[in-house]
């Protein structure tokens, strides 16, 4: 078949190397070759958002992204968001507090998208949240609890920031 492309990239903060055929997609590299089962695949056509990961911080549908494109880039899956093996981010904790998932299959992609949204818009209004979430399909929840989880994180972070500012002022 075709020649393999060798690439180096960072995956969840750790340097990795891989050799892939040009048609191999990032999702397959992560799941099948590197065993990152937290990257899940559903539509395989870039419309459902289940396979969303961050590439240099930008939410990316890994099922439609050729793997060789992540050479020298930073890839973050849901597992890498918290920066440690056992912890959960505030976004993940809010998903738990709001019961913002049911079957859990779309949840990794949903958490990744929500994380990117909050990085871009620290205090998103409802319309912004809906616009961003349109990239991710959830067939279980009806989305309302997911939106509430995102709003909860935004409010918590804002309250924390105010506390920090107040402390600094003291």
């Amino acid at each position: 078949m075709s020649d393999l492309i060798a690439l180096k990239f960072r995956l969840n903060g750790v340097g990795r190397t891989a050799a892939v055929e040009p048609q191999v997609m990032l999702a397959d590299l992560l799941r099948e070759q590197l065993g990152e089962i937290d990257v899940r695949v559903s539509c395989d056509q870039g419309v459902c958002g289940v396979c969303t990961v961050l590439v240099d911080g930008i939410p990316t549908t890994s099922c439609l992204t050729p793997a060789f494109l992540v050479a020298d880039r930073e890839v973050t899956t849901v597992k890498g968001l918290s920066g440690n093996a056992t912890g959960l981010t505030d976004v993940q904790q809010a998903f738990i507090a709001c019961s913002a998932f049911q079957c859990g299959y779309c949840t990794p992609g949903m958490v990744v998208s929500a994380t990117a949204l909050l990085a871009e818009h620290p205090s998103p209004d409802r319309q912004t949240i809906r616009d961003w979430l349109d990239a991710n399909v959830c067939r279980c929840t009806g989305y309302q609890t997911i939106i509430e989880a995102i709003e909860m994180v935004a409010a918590q972070r804002q309250a924390q920031a105010q506390t920090t500012t107040a402390e600094a002022a003291d």
């Binding site: 056509q45 779309c106 949240i129 349109d134």
Partner: protein
């Protein structure tokens, strides 16, 4: 941790049992299972709706490096029976002579990897002789339509209860028929002030569960092991046993988390093919479908419903005749159950002097239809609650007052011989009416505004269902609960673990929900009909209570006092000034190496010939809906201004779970009402073959304002009065929207979905 102990369970502030597994992406789901030497299987599907298979040339595909085998209808020698299905066994494991829908399976490739399998698949050449397609139920019943099967199939008669007849394959292209005749309807109609007949068309949607359908199978030395996304592992085991002519115990079915199903992962699907492929390849095989293929595996039933309803001069409902034809698609699957239930449920939450229902499943050359969240109750509620509103308007009554006048009160049997209604329908109706907010919208311009209400209704299943569970506690006081309720997103593991923690008075973190494995899990008839809480929950509750009682008895023996004087909390037995630790107790009784104390629980709802369905229905699941909307008279667009929905949880065991069931189902139903639909084009090809074409609800489709509520009417048969809510969200939405559109425009829509084109056409027709 005394704050996590609750006398009267309510897990309002507790996380779901599966929370960490899911938000961290760890799973596992069946697709995460990788076995050494595992091969990948992919399916070649028919591009035609109806055709005869003349020849299949697999030689070029077989010659591809990395291809282990190509299986076709010639390779069914290992099977004792080659077709399966519920009640009527008509679906071939792999097509032999004919294909009956676009997507029917004609060949399977097993290869070292997915890419090789796909490449080989393109090299299979199938010669078809095209046959006339039969795309809808009217065509299928016409004289010109071809018979879709040459002969009748092995089948199991569906035996129900009083005044009921059913038949398998009774006529040309008819899969199943159901007739229920309760009361002298001619006499009742003769005395009525009004008799109204109305026809409704129900559309069909796909399940679109996010975890595509998957089965991993491996041949061990003397048995088969499966990892499956199926929600009915024991039913599947039984089907595999019958198909292969091997004992049930030959098959070990294991189930991980299931990534959504909504009915689409119930009963046998392509697991027999996965098993056949692993036997032929003598290696582990993964059969993983794409989401497109998952959509071809099963759908909801579209159909026509004709209701003839009589009413007296004071607005009392007297009688109803229901005639339903459902599109069963190419193969039986669970169509017969949907058909019977749609007919029975079309009487809605009302009292009748006479009720007759006749329903049929018609075969067509389209995607097989089967279980879909709502299970006939969605079709029934849509037609029934639409017509109730239409009749109220025709006789000059307020639709809410008309409903109130006719509702079955709590405690009265749904029908003679059936269970008593365990919901207060009027309370929920009052709540949606009062909660639906006035929306300040402009009254000029093209917008017409209206409000609509509905009470969707379905029962929680019957057929003499049962639940079974084992609860055991290790020497160090950790609990393992074993039962067959599959975690498919509904929160079964949370509710069931919570019940056990509540009875045994231990923190919920001490309770683990055992993995599902037909070798060790107590038998279960399937995670169906929103019954995990009611059926399995009761069995688990009993097991936990029995275990608690046994521990107290044991302690009483050791302490030489009466069990009634003792209390058990966090594994400390106390009372009469005495205290004993569970570990001490176990060691004292069973020695240094410990013991596992355990108890079983079992519930079964009896069969009763006097009940119309042959057993009383477990409980009643209403869905109250109120909607305020605006219709753009120029474009036909519908804008939902406010939506209120509610369910009766009986007693809420997990508020987040209950709310999620209602809201999630409601949004799917709203999508079906406004735009989502499986359609075929004029060339009889699937018009929405991929997730790119098929539109489901996204976050932007959520109405601007949507409030759901939970009533706890306390009459459910589950633990502490709980009952299921899993399918409720599907039930009331379509009718409420149709009723609101009529309220706004004076025009009645009777054919789902209510697209702008249909709204405009109806407005134009009314203007002429």
């Amino acid at each position: 941790m005394p704050d996590t102990l609750r006398q009267n369970l309510k897990l309002s502030d507790t996380a779901r049992q599966d929370a960490r597994d899911k938000v961290s992406g760890e799973g596992p789901f069946a697709g995460d299972i990788t076995l050494p030497g595992m091969l990948e299987a992919r399916l070649l599907r028919s591009p035609h709706a109806h055709a005869r298979i003349i020849a299949i040339d697999t030689s070029r595909a077989e010659a591809v490096e990395g291809v282990r085998l190509v299986a076709t209808g010639r390779d069914l020698g290992l099977l004792k029976q080659t077709t399966y299905g519920n009640w009527v066994h008509d679906q071939p494991v792999i097509c032999t002579d004919r294909v009956r829908f676009e997507g029917d399976v004609v060949a399977a490739v097993v290869a070292v990897d997915e890419t090789t399998a796909f490449r080989a698949m393109e090299l299979i050449h199938v010669s078809y002789q095209l046959l006339p397609p039969v795309m809808d139920i009217h065509e299928a019943r016409s004289d010109a339509a071809p018979e879709l099967f040459d002969q009748k199939h092995p089948n199991v008669p569906m035996k129900l209860g009083r005044d009921t007849r059913t038949a398998n394959e009774p006529a040309k292209n008819v899969l199943f028929s159901y007739d229920f005749e309760d009361g002298d309807i001619d006499a009742v109609e003769a005395g009525a002030a009004h008799v109204f007949t109305d026809r409704f068309h129900f559309s069909r949607i796909g399940h679109f569960y996010m975890e595509p359908w998957i089965c991993v199978a491996q041949q061990l030395t003397d048995r088969i092991e499966l990892w499956s996304c199926n929600q009915d592992p024991f039913v599947l085991r039984q089907d595999l046993s019958e198909l292969f002519g091997l004992p049930e115990g030959h098959f070990r079915v294991r189930t991980a988390y299931v990534g959504g199903g909504f009915g689409g992962k119930s009963y046998c699907k392509h697991e027999p093919l996965a098993v056949l492929l692993t036997m032929l390849a003598n290696a582990p095989v993964r059969l993983l479908m794409t989401l497109d293929e998952s959509m071809l595996t099963l759908s909801q039933h579209d159909g026509d419903l004709v209701l003839t309803t009589s009413v007296d001069a004071q607005g009392k409902l007297l009688s109803r005749r229901t005639e339903i034809d459902l599109n069963g698609g190419a193969y039986a699957d669970a169509s017969a159950q949907v058909c019977a239930r749609a007919a029975y449920r079309s009487s809605g939450p009302y009292r009748w002097q006479a009720y007759h229902a006749h329903s049929r499943v018609i075969r067509t050359t389209t995607i097989p239809a089967g279980s879909y969240r709502g299970m006939g109750g969605t079709q029934a509620s849509y037609a029934s609650e639409s017509q109730i509103d239409m009749i109220a308007r025709r006789i000059g009554m307020d639709p809410i007052a008309f409903r109130r006048l006719n509702l079955i009160p709590p405690g009265e049997p749904f029908k003679d011989g059936d269970s008593k209604v365990d919901a207060d329908f009027a309370e929920g109706l009052d709540r949606v009416v009062s909660d639906l907010r006035h929306v300040d919208v402009p009254t000029d311009g093209p917008w017409a505004h209206g409000k609509g209400f509905a009470i969707g209704l379905k029962d929680g299943g019957s057929f003499g269902r049962l639940g079974k569970a084992t609860v055991k506690v290790t020497t160090d006081g950790r609990v393992l609960v074993l039962c067959g309720a599959i975690e498919i997103g509904q929160g079964a593991t949370t509710v069931i673990s919570g019940l056990v923690a509540d009875v045994l008075k231990v923190p919920r973190e001490w309770v683990r929900y055992a993995a599902i494995d037909t070798d060790v899990t107590p038998f279960d008839q399937g995670t169906h009909a929103s019954c995990a809480t009611t059926l399995t929950g009761n069995a688990v509750w009993r097991a936990a209570q029995k275990l608690r009682g046994e521990i107290l008895e044991l302690a009483a023996g050791e302490l030489d006092c009466a069990a009634a004087d003792l209390d058990l909390r966090e594994w400390k037995v106390t009372g009469k000034g005495l205290s004993l630790d569970l570990k001490e107790l176990v060691r004292k009784k069973f020695g240094r190496f410990g013991f596992e104390l355990s108890a079983d629980g079992f519930v079964q709802y009896p069969k009763e010939a006097d009940a119309p369905f042959g057993a009383k229905h477990l409980y009643w699941m209403p869905h109250w809906v109120g909607v305020s909307l605006s219709v753009d008279r120029e474009t036909g667009e519908i804008h939902i201004n406010d939506l209120v929905t509610g369910v009766d949880a009986g007693h809420t065991l997990h508020p987040g779970g209950v709310r999620g069931q209602d809201e999630g189902g409601t949004l799917v139903a709203l999508a079906q009402t406004l735009f989502e639909e499986i359609t075929y084009n004029e060339e009889d090809e699937l018009a929405v073959p991929t997730p790119l074409d098929y539109r489901v609800a996204r976050a932007s489709d959520l109405p601007d304002r949507y409030q759901s509520f939970i009533l706890e009417q306390g009459m459910g048969p589950g633990p502490m009065g709980a009952k299921g809510v899993g399918e409720a969200g599907m039930l009331g939405v379509s009718a409420a929207v149709a009723n609101a559109i009529e309220d706004a425009t004076g025009v009645r829509l009777t054919s789902l979905p209510f697209t702008p084109e249909k709204v405009l056409a109806a407005l134009d027709a009314a203007a002429e």
